[in-house]
Amino acid sequence: MVWGARVLKALASGFSHIGRSVVEGTWRLGYASRFLALVLLRSGLSFGRFSLVVRKVYFSGVQSLIIILVSGLFVGMVLGLQGYETLVRYGSAEALGTLVALSLVRELGPVVAALLFASRAGSAITAEIGLMKATEQLSAMEVMAVDPIARVVGPHFWGAVISMPLLAAMFSAIGVFGGYLIGVVLIGVDDGAFWSQMQAAVDFRHDVMNGIIKSAVFGFAVAAIATFEGYDAPPTAEGVSGATTRTVVTSALAILALDFVLTSFMFTGQ
């Protein structure tokens, strides 16, 4: 009798735990959607003062430039080495250019650049907005009759959305250059074959444009997550640091999940 009652009690608390997390999760998702809708709705005000957006492009784009370029170069060089090792077994080392370019333009460029962007710029956006909230700067704006969503969140959001595709394109371009350095300059794959095979295989609309669309979607996701986490952060030091971590983790998951969905739409069915 006593055992039965205990089991029932444990079950009940387990169910109520699940129920509570579902309710809270749904509530938070709804809150996040409402926040995103507000940001989009009031972005007219943000764009009205374009210099604010330009400042935030500097904040998230220009300041991520170094990490994006260096990583892109190394990823391209690794692709060159690994790709050559594999291709040379099948006697088709000339296809190295194709391999490097297609992997970068379709997949690695958008995804790796977005992951780096989330950890460099996304976390910085969350920390900045969260700190402004914790030090009552957002409240101060509000009582000055200045809307913090239009004045602070909107420019951050659009700065990130604008920066992301540009960074991904730079990542891919310098990655191809890295592959060229290893493949052609170092290993000695034929220069002409490297470029011509690449150009024959990479299609502008099908490969390059789809890669850019991917990176734009990722930029949108990272911007939404980073600004929301910052705006929603508890106004304490632990609150802001927790929100920063959540931004990186949630963004990474969102990027990879979205990448799967987008890839299955773009590159299959032919």
């Binding site: 210099s51 330009v54 400042r55 492009v57 500097y58 784009g61 220009v62 430039l65 099948y90 088709s92 370019a101 333009v105 604008i162 920066s163 595709p165 540009l166 960074l167 394109a169 730079m170 891919s172 371009a173 310098i174 191809v176 470029w195 690449m198 150009q199 024959a200 990479v202 299609d203 502008f204 609309r205 099908h206 490969d207 390059v208 890669g211 850019i212 032919q270």
Partner: protein, 163 residues
């Protein structure tokens, strides 16, 4: 940070990003060789077997890309594959041009090769190519080769016995 310096850096950033896209389009990709849909005309070719031919595979004449495979369907009456080929309007071909499915290298991708004929009429929108050559299916080729070898071997054995 000074406003003008921020503006300058953002300007450099945006130009570099657009430059990277342009580079990907022209140097890495083939935007210069991709033609618009409006600049092509469609011709059709029926094949017994298309092998591994895919939509968007190139159509080449004398090694130059002149178009792309736009669509592939099976004709349920004749059980032949009908390929729709979008050919660049800059290139005109005689009506008796033949199409063959070829392979670039031993393991490369398959493409359609045009061999120009001698007709005075040119191919028009909607024309059907009369002379086609299907893809070479490796398994058929190998079995044919083995069969021939076996037949050859058999006859030479008999010849030896007869001696």
């Amino acid at each position: 940070m000074n406003r003008t310096i921020v503006d300058m850096w953002v300007g450099i950033f945006v130009v570099a990003g657009l430059g990277a896209i342009l580079l990907l389009a022209l140097r890495v990709g083939n935007a210069s060789a991709t033609f618009n849909v409006s600049d092509t005309y469609s011709v059709y070719a029926d094949f017994e077997n298309i092998g591994g031919l895919k939509v968007r595979a190139p159509v080449k004449s004398a090694g130059v890309v002149v178009g792309r495979v736009a669509n592939i369907q099976l004709n349920s009456q004749t059980y032949k594959a009908r390929a729709e080929l979008a050919i660049d309007k800059r290139y005109q071909f005689p009506a008796d041009t033949s199409a063959a499915i070829l392979t670039a290298g031993l393991l490369g991708e398959q493409y359609i090769g045009f061999d120009a004929g001698g007709d005075v009429e040119n191919l028009k929108q909607g024309s059907v190519l009369q002379i086609t050559q299907s893809a070479i299916v490796l398994e058929k080729l190998i079995s044919q080769f083995l069969y021939n070898k076996a037949a050859e071997g058999g006859s030479s054995d008999k010849a030896a016995e007869a001696k």
